[in-house]
Amino acid sequence: MSLLYDESQQAIASESRRVADACADKARLLALLEQTGDYDTAFWDSAREQGWTALALPEAYGGLDLGLVDLGIVAQASGAATAGAPFLTTNYGAAQALLRSDDEILRQRWLPPLASGEAFAAVAFAEGQSPLPDRPTTRLTTAGLTGEKPGVTAGAQAQIAVVWALAEGEPALVLAELRDEQRTVIHGYDNSRGYADLNFAAAPASLILKGDAALDLARDVLARMAVVTAHEQTGGAEALMFIARDYAVTRKAFGQPIGAFQSVKHRIAELYALVEIARANCIHAASREGQPDFLKAAAAARLSATEAYDTAARDCVQVHGGIGVTWESGLHLHMRRARSLAIEQGNTMWWEDLLVSQLTGVAA
């Protein structure tokens, strides 16, 4: 894959930006913040119409056979609009795991509905504060799947979850169908992410992959999701940079636009640096899917995108002064999203440690 978008990718970029902006409704998104376990159906319907849900899946299962670069482009547009549904990322992650299962019936059962977006999937790897524990406490036995997975994205809506567990003492990826009594929906600061604690008590589940291969797959799936998320973060950070810029050229204080004050203009210029570095890392990472250096590239994208979005959220609000902290301004939609995306797919420290292990061979 090239670092340069080709014509069709440029088309996807402008079109997805247009659609994401068109169906973004600040009032609806603000309302979602105070509703527990809901999501932005309007956005999701458009995403399905546009075929974004099918983008990175094989034709054999109703997909469009495109790659991470294309999905990343869409994710960036969704991030810019603080889109109110997490399934682009979670369905993609679950599908990437399912594709590696030998169970064709399982694949036929779930990949087409994931491609069409009528099904929701969650990826439940984390336990405690670890995004991917070496030895998960969740167990798959003949009795079924047993264990707890905290704060699972889309856990409130998903019909299925790809679960990181231990099967006969070996790490494994497992597919579990979710029933409502298994989920405790969380009221959070970014409610449209569908966070829920999942609790499995001898739940029916089928094995996807086991052993070291399962660990490699889990890492790869997490890295792929992280690259999608990094695009979303970069889109959000870029949107905030422009919001700050537009405000700084119009808003006046002491008789001139506040953008003429270096404390404001340099702060926005620094955001430009963070955004461009994150963008370049994102495109590079997406272009490396399936390559041996993919984990490193994903980590670099993830780290720079998280820093860009968190910083942009902090600074864009600060540039706005009082108006920036009002509910109506909606800037806190980005602020909240910056935080939730910084935690989904593993926080900064976890990615720092993974990257350094890859670079040096020394574990934390």
Binding site: Q129, S130, F254, F261, T326, H332, M349
Partner: protein
Amino acid sequence: MTDLNAYRENARAWLASVADQFGRDARRGLAVEDDLALGRRYMAARFDAGYAGINWPVEMGGQGLGHLEKVGFDGEEMSFGMPSGYFGISLGMPVPILIRFGEDKAWVKERVLAALKGEEIWCQLFSEPAGGSDLAGLRTKAVPDGNGWSLTGQKLWTSWAQYCDYGVIVARTDPTVPKHKGLTYFWVDMKAPGVEVRPIKLAGGDSHVNEVFFDDVKLTDAQRMSPVGGGFGVAMTTLMIERYVATDSGGFGPHLDLFIDMAREIEVGGKAALEDGRVRSAIARNYAMRSGLEAITRRAMLMMEAGMVPGPEGSLNKLVAVRSRQRLSELALDLQGNTGLAFDAHAFVKEDWASSWLNAPTGRIAGGADEMLLNTIAEKILGLPQDHRPDKAVPFNQIPA
């Protein structure tokens, strides 16, 4: 100091005795109105116990004690989480200004007593939509009207205005002179006809600040608290008082101990978070920063006790502490990862990391944005030149909007 310690002892004892009634646990989960009602009862009890207006003159219903007793009591009170916040601005700025500049002393004393008992609340009507950091750029105007004035305009970011009985306000009485020179300072009856208060919901979900609209609100000339055109100076006095209102090295967020307690329960990469260099660095640097700010405050107290004027370094507290609180709160959420996604809109900012993080930006803007504080330090303390200000010395009505 031993007297002061004894004073704090007694204060703590009294606060402990009413903690069940008014303290943090009694308030948990209360709607704002109920919490305010509880607050009014607390203020009455505090007045009766002799802890109201601690450093105010006795003839004004105060206790006639020193600033140190006041600060000592505030520190103790803060640790009990008493519902006194609604009255902080009222007693912090407007009422002291009233005592200082109010003409009719009998009437003033009536107001002061009511304010100390929590029966009446005063707000401060400074910021405006066009203004923000630029106080002198305000547009609300007071035009002569018979023997008095007619007030028309809009104020913004007025804390607790929806619960206030009175307010102090700065309005433009002469648009033909440079902007600092055309302002006059009044007090206003918030229940008077033509006053409309609209609460503003903030990012965290609460609505303690307001838009306040004035439409031909009548003021008698007795409500004027500064010479005509002399309002900017009085407003500045108010803001100076603001700086010396109780500081908090935690930036009004959770204490560092709470971060350490949280970190004890957390793992980073399968190891105890407290063993991780990144976490240790954050704790150590925050401790160093906070202990420095606390030493600055203690030194200022000692100087005041010794009758000296404390140095300007007191102005650092808000700038440094709130900014650091924002980053530390972010880190706390990061560390909790998937186990820290829940959010309770009624949680206390000083106890809950999500609330602390979500409300931190307000702290960095309210009462002087970081950039304004840096300008003040640079210009007033270090003597660096003022920014270019095209509107300087230009008649207000000739500044391009």
